[in-house]
Every structure is written in C-alpha cells, then in structure tokens.
Subunit: 571 residues, 2 copies
C-alpha cells in the first residue's frame, strides 16, 4: 500500500521535489529529471531513466562513478521525449550522451525521439537498451530490463568516470548488457498511490516466476518454496540462460528486493544463492544484496549475474557515490583481516560432578518435564504471541519456545550420569542464551536457581526440598525482574503458585498432589491478571490497552506448571 502522498496524480513530481531538497548539495533538478553536479572534468554523460516507483532506479544512482543524469517519468510510465531531451541536454558535458534504459516500448519511443532531437543539435547521442530479464522472452534482444539495469549503468558510469570516449562507453554498455542476466519472482502486488486495490495479485501460497518490475503477470505461478529451494530455482534457471560462451567463471551478483521483501530475507536467500554458485565453480565478485530496482510496495526478489571479463570487472569494482549506491574502496583498504580473533566462547563444558542416585532420578524426571514443556509451548506459541501483542511486542510465544527448544537440546546432550542441579543449570543457561528477551533471562536464571537449591548430593528429594526449590525460582525472578505482585507480570502466577505449593506441603501433601493444586492457583492468578494494569516494563505506556487481556508471562507460567503437574500425577 502506498500511504504517504498528497494528490496521487502528482506523486512522481512531489517525491522528486523532496529528493532534490535532500540532495541539493550534489544534484540539480532540471525540467524532466535530475543531473549530477560536475567535478570539473568533462565526461561522457550516461543518462538513465524510466518511470517512477522504482527507487533507487533511476534518480538514486546519479552521481560520481555512475549516471550523469536521470529522466524521471510518472509512476511506472516512460518519461516523455521532451523530458529525456531536457535532462540529456543539461547533463551533456560536451563529450556526448549515452541514453540507457530498460527495454519497454514507451521508453524506446521517447528516448528515441529525444536522441533524434539531440543529434540534430549536434550532440553525439547513443542508445544502450537493457534486456536482462530471461523470463520475458527467449530472444535476448526482445527481453525487458529489470534489476540488470543497474549492472549495465554501473559499467557505463565507471567507464565514463575513467575518462573514456563515447564510442568506448557505448561499447562497454553493450558488452555489459550482453553479459547480464536476471530472473525474478514476485510474492505480492503493489498498489499505486490513491488506488483502492493492488494492480495485480499473486495467488495465495504461490510465487509468480518471472514477474516484471511493473507487476506484469508472471510466466508461471509456483507454490511458495523454502528459501533453499527458491535459491535453487533462481540459480538453475538463470544459469540455463547464461551467455554462451561465458567469458569467465567470475560473476558480479545482485540479489535485489522489490520493496516489501526485506533485507534479512534477502540475506537469507543470498546465503543459499552464494553456496550454490560456488558449488558450480563460480567466483563471486563484490556481490550486492539490497534494493536497487524496486516496484513500490511489491513483494519479491530477483537474482542478477553479470559475467565478467577484465574490463567489466574493473568497472564493477570501481568507486561510485550516489544517493542510494555508495561504494568507496579506501575505508576497506585500511582494515586488517589478519587481526587476532578475540572472540570468547561462553565455555560451559566441564565434566558433570558426581550425583546421587536420587539426583539422577530427579534429573531424568526434569528431562521428561523439559520435553513436555517444549511440546506444550510449540502448541501454544501463536496464542501466547497474540496475547503479548495486545500491549507488548508479540514475541513471548516465540521466545519461550526458542528457550525450551534450546534447553531440550542441551538436556539431550548431557551425559547419563548428570544430576538434577547440573541438568537444570545447563538447561537454564541454554534457555537464557537462545530465548533472549526478558522472559528468557528470567526463566533461565530461575531454573538454574531452582537446580542449585535442589543440589546433586541428596539421597532423597522430599516435598519440602521441592518447595525450597520453587521458592528459589520465585526469588530469582523477583531479584532479576525488579517487579512486585500486582505489576501484571509472571509473578502474579508464580507467587500464588509458590505460596500454595508450600501450604499444601506443610499440610502433608506429596509433591505431585501439592503441585497439581498449586497449578490451579497459578492458573487462577494468571486469569486474574486480565484485570490488572501493567506497572513495569515496556507495556507501561499502554497500560489501558492491556486491561481485559491476561499477562502473557503469567499465562505461559500457568500453562507450564499445569503441564508439569499432569506429568507428576501421571495424567
């Protein structure tokens, strides 16, 4: 959804005004677009362009080492011939102009008319059309231009910055285009400013293979894939369309996001793409992962490869400094890759101390409980997240599950002779380590404290020993969390649980019986938190919103102790 605009019809012009205000120290607005300030050394002017809605294409890549100017059309619409003429005329530094853009009918027509007019005025004008999208046609010269636009512009911009003449810059551009291939996938459509509905939709649970950057429908809908398989699809199909013969096994890769497919997702995809390319024997030269050619708020990504010869590699590696693309070698050259590694492991692998039989039996029971709790939390992950999202950040279910998963993995690794204190300490540290967040730290530290209270050296564990351990758990949470009863936290289930357990034990109940009764008290306490206003933690400013919903931490505590109670009573 495009949300920020005034008059939707003026979106392209309005955003350009903001862009020009922002970069007034390096760019100049001219009728029809943008030109870079000159560094005094006349160069061939590489003038790029196309419709708006693709930022940083096209005006975001104007500057030293890249384009001399960009023609800025309306959203997803070719600029007019008059705009292209105006920008090219302003960008010309007396050494001629190369107009470059993706292969679309409107751009071909408008830039073509502009080129004719420029030539009539004596300005040597060349045209380099980008045709990288292998999904759009079998014949290379009929393909449309997508993220490979950037790869071709970069080569020409670097050639122009190096001082080459127009024949060379044009030749480099054609060579770069011949060596560049892209393939994209789309996950969701984009919505034009002011429109009610997306331009198109990808069927739910599918991706559109080969969708263009204007949302032109794809050539094939494929069920959504895990990242590893998606990488395989992109790499296989792209390599099948490699230049033949390929100039080398050195490639300049781009993983490009279309707008709402975010950086972390692109990094995750890159991890698989890079592994697959290396497996096939490719050397990856200064890869780029990010947003270089977008489509408003479209979801999707593409893979571009430029097969490098020595000349293209030099231009790909060259410095550039534009609003959206900045590459400067000097700061990296000062870094020292051979510096000693000071990384510290947490070191937690001493051998387990001797433990009594009772402690080992208790450890076995604790291990069963950890497994049951993990299954329980997997089941309730989403529910806990939703409760937490009402007045928090929604991470509670996920954090608890991550913690329990880590605790279980650690428990599974422990030697058979480990006692209960040793086990709970390792499980607790693993929980805190992997869950992250407040609840992870509290649960981890509290499990360790409970284990320490039990110890590994007893010959029997009485209900009173368990009550002491429960109290140690509660004290740890209180000390570390700095909250009190009534603050709408975990404590509002935990403190009633501890009190009820102690009371049952004092009245002569066994551990299982006391635990089950106390779990009921905890559940009631958790439910009662719905009526409370939070007084600590990040939910505080949202106190009113949370009234009516129970606390997520109290809820998960009640669920956990109830499940453990079921285990103890054999239910």
């Amino acid at each position: 959804m495009t949300t920020i605009f005034d008059d939707p019809d003026e979106f392209a012009d309005d955003q350009l005004a903001g862009f020009l205000d922002l970069y007034a120290d390096r760019l100049r607005g001219v009728p029809g677009g943008v030109v870079t300030l000159s560094d005094g050394e006349p160069k061939v002017a590489v003038v790029i362009g196309g419709g708006s809605g693709h930022y940083p294409a096209f005006c975001g890549t104007v500057g030293p080492g890249l384009a001399a100017g960009a023609v800025v059309g309306n959203i997803f619409t070719s600029p007019s011939a008059a705009q292209a003429y105006s920008v090219a005329k302003a960008a010309d530094q007396g050494r001629g102009v190369v107009l470059s853009f993706g292969n679309y009918a409107g751009d071909i027509m408008n830039f073509g008319i502009a080129a004719e007019r420029l030539r009539k005025e004596g300005i040597d004008t060349r045209i380099v059309v980008v045709t990288d999208d292998v999904a759009s046609a079998d014949e290379p010269d009929r393909r449309r231009g997508i993220a490979g636009d950037f790869s071709v512009f970069k080569a020409m911009g670097a050639a122009a910055a190096a001082g080459h003449g127009i024949d060379d810059v044009e030749r480099v551009g054609r060579a770069a285009n011949a060596a560049t291939r892209s393939l994209g996938v789309a996950f969701s459509g984009c919505t034009m400013p002011g429109a009610d509905a997306p331009l198109f939709e990808v069927p739910a649970g599918h991706l559109g293979l080969g969708l263009g950057i204007h949302g032109e429908p794809g050539i094939e809908d494929v069920p959504l894939l895990p990242a590893e398989k998606l990488a395989g699809l992109l790499v296989d199909r792209l390599l099948a369309a490699a230049p033949d013969p390929a100039p080398s096994a050195r490639v300049a890769p781009i993983v490009n996001g279309l707008g709402t497919t975010k950086y972390e997702e692109l990094f995750l995809l890159w991890r698989h793409v890079s592994a697959l390319l290396r497996e096939r024997g490719y050397t990856l030269v200064e890869p780029e992962v990010g947003e270089l050619v977008t489509s408003l708020d479209m979801g999707g990504a593409s893979l571009t490869l430029q097969w490098l010869d020595d000349e293209l590699e030099e231009y790909w590696r060259a410095d550039a400094y534009t609003p959206a693309y900045r590459k400067v070698r000097a700061p990296l050259d000062r870094l020292d890759a051979s510096a000693p590694d000071r990384a510290a492991e947490t070191g937690d692998d001493e051998p387990a101390p001797p433990a009594t039989t009772a402690s080992r039996e208790a450890a076995a029971e604790a291990a069963r409980a950890v497994r049951a709790v993990r299954d329980l939390l997997a089941e309730h992950e989403e529910e806990l997240g939703h409760i937490d999202a009402v007045a928090g950040d929604g991470d509670h279910g996920r954090g608890m599950l991550k913690g329990a998963n880590a605790a279980l993995r650690r428990v599974d690794e422990l030697p058979p002779g480990a006692g209960v204190a040793w086990l709970l300490a390792r499980a607790g540290r693993a929980w805190a380590e992997h869950a992250g967040g407040t609840s992870g730290v509290l649960w981890g530290a509290a499990l360790e404290a409970a284990g320490a209270s039990l110890g590994d050296d007893r010959d029997a564990y009485t209900p009173a020993h368990v009550a002491d351990a429960v109290d140690a758990f509660a004290e740890s949470v209180q000390d570390l969390g700095r909250a009190s009863a009534g603050d709408k936290t975990l404590l509002d289930a935990l403190l009633p649980f501890a009190a009820a357990f102690r009371e049952q034990v004092s009245a002569g109940a066994g551990t299982a019986e006391a635990w089950a009764a106390a779990a009921e008290t905890a559940s009631q306490g958790a439910r009662d938190t719905a009526g409370l206003r939070p007084r600590v933690g990040r939910a505080r400013p949202l106190a009113e919103k949370s009234v009516g919903t129970p606390d997520a931490g109290a809820t998960s505590f009640a669920l956990v102790v109830t499940r453990v109670g079921d285990l103890l009573t054999g239910r």
Copy 2:
C-alpha cells in the same frame, strides 16, 4: 508478510549467516553477533544491539566510524547476556566498551548482566541507553528507543573513531541521547516469519500515532492524513517535546521508513517536513531519509531530530562506512555547485499565427472536446487501469488522464485568437509531455498531426477535411508505434474508425453523423480485440493471459471517439 525463510525459528541465525558471507571482507562473525575488522588503531569499542528484524539496525551499522560490534538477538527479542558478553569481548580493543541499545526491559537486563561479567574480567564497560521515542512516556528516561538509536550510535561511533577515551565516548553518547527526539506513525502491522497473521493491525483508514518498532500498539489512532498534514502532525508533536533549553536551532533530521513505506513516500514526506522545520527557523544539517531502523514488513515512518551543539555536529557530519550506512565526504568535495546551468526548456511560447474564423470556431469546438474527453477519462481511469493490468503494467488509465489534464490546462491558457491547428499542436505536445508512456506519445503526436492536416487557414472545414485529419491521426500512430492491424493495439479501433468515417463521408454524411457511425465501428473493433493475442510491445510474452480481455488502448480510443461523437451530435 515475511516470505523468504527456511525454518522460521532459525530465521535470525540464517539471515545472519548470509549477511556475514556477504560482508566477509569487512566484518567477522563471533558467537552472538558481529564485529568489525580493525584498522590497527585501538579505539573504544561501541557495541550496539537488540533483536533482529530491524535491519540495518543493528549489524548493518557496524564498521569504520560507527559501531565496533553488534549483538544479534532473535526476531524482536533481546539478545542474551551471553551473546552480549561474547560480542563485547571480541570487540574490545583494550580501551573499553560502551554497550548501547534501546530502552527495553530485556536489553537492560541482558546487557546489564554482560557488563557485570566484563567488568569482573577487567574490561571497562559503560552503558548508554537510548530513549528517543517521545510517544512512549512523558518522563524522558522512561522512553523507549526507536530510530534515534542511530543518531546516538553515530555520535559515539564518530567520537570513538576520533580516538577519544571511554569517558568521552560515554559522555557524548549521553549528550546525544539527551538531544535526540523521535516520533513515529504506523500504517500496517508486520508478520513474523512463519506466522499466519500480522502481530497487530492498524484500523483500516487510520494511522497509529506513536507505535513502537516492535508493533507495540500506538497511543492514539488517527484517520489517515495527506502527506502535508502528516508532516505537520509529526513536526508539531516532536517540537513540543524538544529539549529545554535547546542547545541551538541546528538539527540533524532523520525520516525513517519502517519497512514497506517506500523511499518515494519518504521523500514526499521529507519535502513537507523540511519546509515546516525551516519555517520554524531550524537549520537542517545533512538530513537522512531512508531505512535505518525497520520492523520487518511494517508500514510506517518516523521523524527524528538531534539538536546539535558544535561537538555533536562534528560527529554527525563525520565519515562512516558500514554495510548499510556509508558517508564519505571526499567525493562530494570534488563537486562544483557553481557549474553553469545548461538545462533546456522545451520552449513553446511563440505567439499564435493568424487563423481564419472557421479555424477559430473549430478550435473552440476542439477545446470543448478536450474538456469532455478529460472528464470522460477521469471517470474511466480505474477501469482502464484494471484492463491494462491483466497483461500490462496497469498505467493506461492514469497515463491517459494525465495527458488529457495537461492538454486541457494548455488549451485553457491559449490566447482567444488561436486556430485549430495551433490548438491541437499545443494540446498534443502537452499531452505527450505529461502523460509519458507509449499512449501519451502516440496521442500527442497524432493530435498534432491531425491539427496540421486541418490547418489554420481554411475558410470552411468540410467533412472531407475532417476525414483527412482522421487519416493523418491514424498514419501518425502507425508510423510511430510500428504496429499493424490485428496486433491488439489502439490501431484495432482506430483503423476501422478511420475507414468507416471516410466511407460515411464519401456516401454524403455530415461530420457529426459520420463520426457517430464510425464511433460505433470503433467500439466494435475495441471489443473484438478481446479475442486477439498481442504481437508487439511489452505484453508480448504474456500473450495468452491477455486473451479474453480487450486492449486498453483500443478501449480508451473507442470511449473517446464515442464521447466526441455525442458532443458533435448534441447528445
């Protein structure tokens, strides 16, 4: 929607692996996060961190001039104490560590435990908590940290890079935080990897004022605003919470996008924000507009201001070179802002030549037709866009309306004595200039050609003259568009129209009568394009998808000639 992942629970680790692969030439992975390679000069280590899902926060801003390391937690979850300890230990260069992060309970707890452990090992460790979000609490020190994280990290990173000691770096960090204020709005929620539903939703047609970067609910839901009013809301509310007394009227602004609110929208917002701030007397120092602290695919934006004194200004302006934030002064210093302006206007303001009375009358009729066509296209904009979106980029309705709007504005400006050729030439050029795209160029050139055929010097315009003008229109479209009948273009309505009009006129019909009859033929031709496969233009690879839907250009042509026919026959 987060779409690219393998095991959702491992998302944070998996994406980090890709990130580290990508930047292996400048960063090093350590247990718990990332550290920069050293440049050999020991510095105070600024170690930042928090949950994942906020890229470029936090690992994207590790590098020369910024952070020495970043601790990477699970999605929206504080890293563990062990992670923070491990990264800080690896980042330490012997001059101490400043841990810095946003004010969230989990981070406070985990970084606090890590700091204790580091101090026990003799590493001088300080903590600077960021509290910029004015919406989250009235008391400055209880506020949470959002995009102002970046402003505070930047100041400390620059101070450390300048060689200052740990006391100074900590002092600068505290001063930067005290001088930094942010306020955000959210338009839509974000969806965690693997989740079915967003963490939260903003009510339709509203924005959430003050929403946090984890999707914590806002403090107030406000109906969606045009960009100008949104800028006013942000500026007013933020300035109301300015530091008191403010150190100066110099501010370092950030307009930050949360994920799916894209660059063009942010530029558009910046245009208004910058104007409002300048009106209030502020000097804007090297503003940043883009994505610095995101929240997966959340929609929204925030405004951050850092009030600058001389020291903070120096640090704000300083170079930095990290994966996601690169600022290098040298390339800009080589630019020459005083270079002459070579921008060319299209120049179209010669006086109108003399025109006959008949030509002036025809011009008046043409002006009425332009107005009627504009209203017609406004009515059909969305419908034409949807037709075009089936196998094209969906811009047809918008392009036609932009063209007609521009033509009408130009017609309204013309002097009263203008003849029909002069009027159609100006209207056509304005259409082509502002519509952009294929249809804009074709309509613009064709209107000009039709006008030239009519001329301004006739004493009467017979039906045969009009038939000649219609043929000139058609020839212009054929020449420029290089398509033929049957290619599923505008021509499949235009050529039958021209033939039918000529036939009617030859049979003795008047202009109005012939036009109305020909318009029916055009409409039939447009409908018949539904059965065709496109053979030219970007729709070509999608030929099959378009079968069953008429061509958008043929459809709009038929609508326009039908409306003009109604006007001529007085319907």
